[in-house]
């Protein structure tokens, strides 16, 4: 059954090639149907692969080049439950995005679908691969497809700038990853992750290993948009076509984190064991990312930019889960990433629906205009509450599991970060929802420091606008149900623990990949959320509602002053997000230097 995984990667690639070859001769609806069918087939295959991984890690050697005596010359897919899970998650989101595209664009060539399918194939390969260089190639493939997709509305102003910043910073990130991989190859003569890990294990880390680890970590953190490598994200996500945003925000950033965790676990954990310094750096980066992203999200009026910064914030939260470098933390992070990704995707679909009907994504300009949308409004409100960790929904469960894992690891303070980040992003989304759909609150807001969204006169938005098309409602509801339901689905919590438990077992992974021993299945324990966790969730939601109320009720002068003060507190963050790519690269280098410096001092012996 391991042969299914390469087929899942091949299907979208072949479909993309067919679409490009056929050019404009295929009618638009046929293209839509083909794309939906291809992503549907991927869903089925990914689900089968995920099912198979429950017995242990699947290894597929291309061309039958199996390893001899622990030396791998061939290229492999090494699929565990985490990788298979993220691949299935990506495929599900693509189907939702393709359905949403149906009525979102009026004029749309097959190139768009082809790029999307290449993007899908790259994500699946990225989740499945067991080879460092293959990881890099899939990384570049998904990056280039994403650059082109962000720049799809190339006649507009924003997409040009967003795509340029995105492409330049991420290409530098990819370059750093490649240099890191090259150094590892120079040291070990291997590219298979398991084999590189075996070669590095047991010996104390020297300068080369630390440099290589820093380069690879920074490269993946650029993609994941960890502060201070995150600047490109808001520029790119706020201007991309909404179906693309949904994918970028829900799964692409998280793939950066996934890749970091995978490479750390399989390659470096043997050499850099006793990882207090790494854990400290990751926790600090996660905390900074979560708080900075949440503050910036709170200061936005451009709805897509708000969701983009919420993405940054949640990447920080997931990074905190990964930073624990143990099974329970990773299991919580995995559950959080998927549940939160579904909810974010649903929010993007809702924003896209509003954009489709009213031609704007500006919170203040949309004031009260969307009150007729009786389904989209409440759905968005519910998703906003879920983002503010309302029990028992999926995002709450994920955050709670990370919290509890952190407490067990002696890092109980992270709950404060979770509460602050959730209150700020939840309040921003609640405020926007109430303003846009219910017309609550004033038309001016001193607490908002972000610039307004431009009015849109897009060719893509010229449909009959009397009602919400079914192809927008269905994905929004389905994604929200998936994300919210993950909190109450029976067995999911235990499954996440089982999936994550073998992830950091480097020796077990190597034995499976290089020597064909069965392994990598089950045995994880995740904590059960108790009444205390429910209370924390409820308090966070109350905090978010309170903050949203403060910003929407400025008729009372004291509250008004509070709103202004909040705005001022956030305003200093804004000039840093200058939109100039040179600044972003400077931040990237400074962040890399700091991380490298800390690792150089603490990790070498």
């Amino acid at each position: 059954m391991t042969d299914l995984a390469p087929i899942a990667v091949a299907i979208p690639l072949i479909t993309a090639a067919v679409l490009v070859a056929a050019g404009g001769t295929v009618p638009r609806r046929v293209v839509d149907v083909l794309a939906c069918t291809a992503s549907g087939a991927c869903i089925v295959l990914c689900a089968l692969v995920l099912h198979d991984t429950s017995d242990g890690t699947l290894v597929h050697w291309f061309g039958g080049w199996t390893p001899r005596d622990g030396v791998a010359l061939g290229i492999s897919f090494a699929i565990d439950q985490i990788g298979a899970g993220i691949a299935l998650f990506a495929a599900l989101l693509f189907l939702a995005a393709f359905v949403f595209c149906w009525r979102y664009f009026v004029v749309l060539g097959p190139i768009f679908h082809a790029l999307m399918l290449v993007f899908l194939a790259a994500m699946l390969g990225f989740g499945y691969t067991g080879d460092l260089f293959n990881l890099f190639v899939f990384f570049e493939l998904l990056s280039v497809a994403a650059y082109a997709l962000v720049a799809y509305d190339i006649e507009e102003e924003g997409p040009l700038q967003g795509a340029l910043n995105f492409a330049v910073t991420n290409t530098i990130g990819a370059f750093l990853i490649l240099i890191g991989i090259a150094l590892l190859y120079g040291r070990t003569g291997a590219l298979n992750m398991a084999q590189v890990g075996e070669a590095l294990a047991g010996r104390p880390a020297d300068g080369l290993v630390v440099v290589s680890f820093t380069l690879i970590a920074v490269g993946f953190f650029v993609k994941a948009a960890v502060v201070p490598f995150h600047f490109w994200l808001a520029d790119a996500y706020s201007v991309a076509p909404t179906p693309v945003c949904l994918l970028l925000s829900a799964v692409m950033s998280e793939l950066g984190l996934y890749a970091f965790a995978r490479v750390y676990a399989t390659v470096f954990s043997g050499a850099l064991g006793g990882d207090e310094a790494i854990q400290a750096v990751l926790l600090a980066a996660g905390t900074l990312t979560a708080v900075a992203g949440a503050l910036m999200a709170f200061g936005q009026r451009h709805l897509k930019r708000m969701l983009a910064f919420a993405t940054v914030s949640h990447v920080g939260l997931a990074l905190i889960g990964i930073a624990l470098l143990d099974g329970p933390g990773l299991g919580g992070a995995a559950l959080f990433v998927v549940a939160d990704g579904f909810v974010k995707a649903s929010l993007f679909v809702s924003v896209g629906t509003v954009q489709h009907l009213f031609g704007s994504v500006d919170e203040l300009r949309l004031h009260g205009r969307a009150h007729a949308l009786w389904l989209t409004g409440p759905l968005m409100g519910l998703c906003a509450l879920a983002m503010a960790s309302l029990p028992p929904f999926g995002p709450w469960l994920g955050k709670t599991l990370i919290d509890q894992a952190a407490r067990d690891a002696g890092q109980g303070w992270v709950v404060v970060v979770f509460v602050i980040a959730s209150i700020l992003t939840g309040a921003a989304l609640l405020r926007a929802t109430l303003r846009v759909f219910a017309g609550v609150g004033p038309r001016e807001d001193p607490s908002i420091v972000g610039s307004p969204a431009p009015d849109e006169v897009d060719a893509e938005l010229r449909f009959a606008k009397d009602r919400v098309p079914l192809t927008m409602t269905v994905p929004a509801v389905a994604l929200a149900v998936a994300g919210l339901g993950m909190g109450v689905a029976p067995g999911l919590r235990a499954a996440a623990g089982d999936a994550a438990a073998p992830f950091f077992d480097r020796a077990g992974y190597a034995a499976t990949v290089l020597h064909g021993q069965a392994g990598g299945a089950g045995g994880g324990a995740v904590p059960v959320p108790g009444i205390g966790e429910v209370l924390v969730g409820l308090l966070t939601v109350a905090g978010a509602c309170g903050l949203a109320y403060l910003t929407l009720a400025p008729r009372r002068p004291r509250l008004h002053r509070l709103g202004v003060a909040t705005g001022r507190a956030i305003a200093w963050l804004r000039p840093i997000h200058s939109g100039y790519v040179g600044d972003y690269v400077t931040w990237l280098l400074a962040g890399a230097a700091v991380m490298g410096g800390v690792f150089a001092v603490t990790l070498t012996t």
Partner: protein
């Protein structure tokens, strides 16, 4: 091991990054990115280089002859392809920016500047 290729690679990396950070012209920036990427080709090839060795083709030399590492050469080729794709895409965006604004200065593409222009 010869240090020279690594030193050149570090130099190229520094020059490329400096160029990207300070660039006032999109085409210049894209070229700097290419310079930066070319340092990775050098690192890869240097890692696989063996003194007094053949090309890794064993058609007319006996097996076991010293040869340079073919893996890094394949990696370099892949990397060249990837780099070209990114360069082509970025140049296409630059052309579009020039068509729209008549300028290639990335500073002019910043959102604040766009708003200023509109006023």
């Amino acid at each position: 091991m010869n240090l020279l290729p690594y030193l050149v690679a570090v130099w190229l990396m520094g020059v490329g990054l400096y160029g990207i950070v300070t660039s006032r012209d999109l085409v210049h920036m894209v070229i700097c990115l290419s310079v930066l990427q070319s340092s990775s080709y050098l690192v890869l090839l240097a890692i696989g280089y063996v003194d007094d060795a053949h090309a890794p083709v064993f058609a007319d030399v006996p097996l076991g002859t010293r040869a340079v590492d073919p893996v890094v050469q394949a990696l370099t080729l892949t990397d060249v392809v990837v780099g070209t794709t990114v360069t082509a895409l970025l140049l296409a965006l630059s052309v579009q920016a020039y068509k729209r604004y008549g300028k290639l200065d990335p500073q002019e593409l910043r959102p604040e500047r766009r708003l200023q222009r509109r006023d």
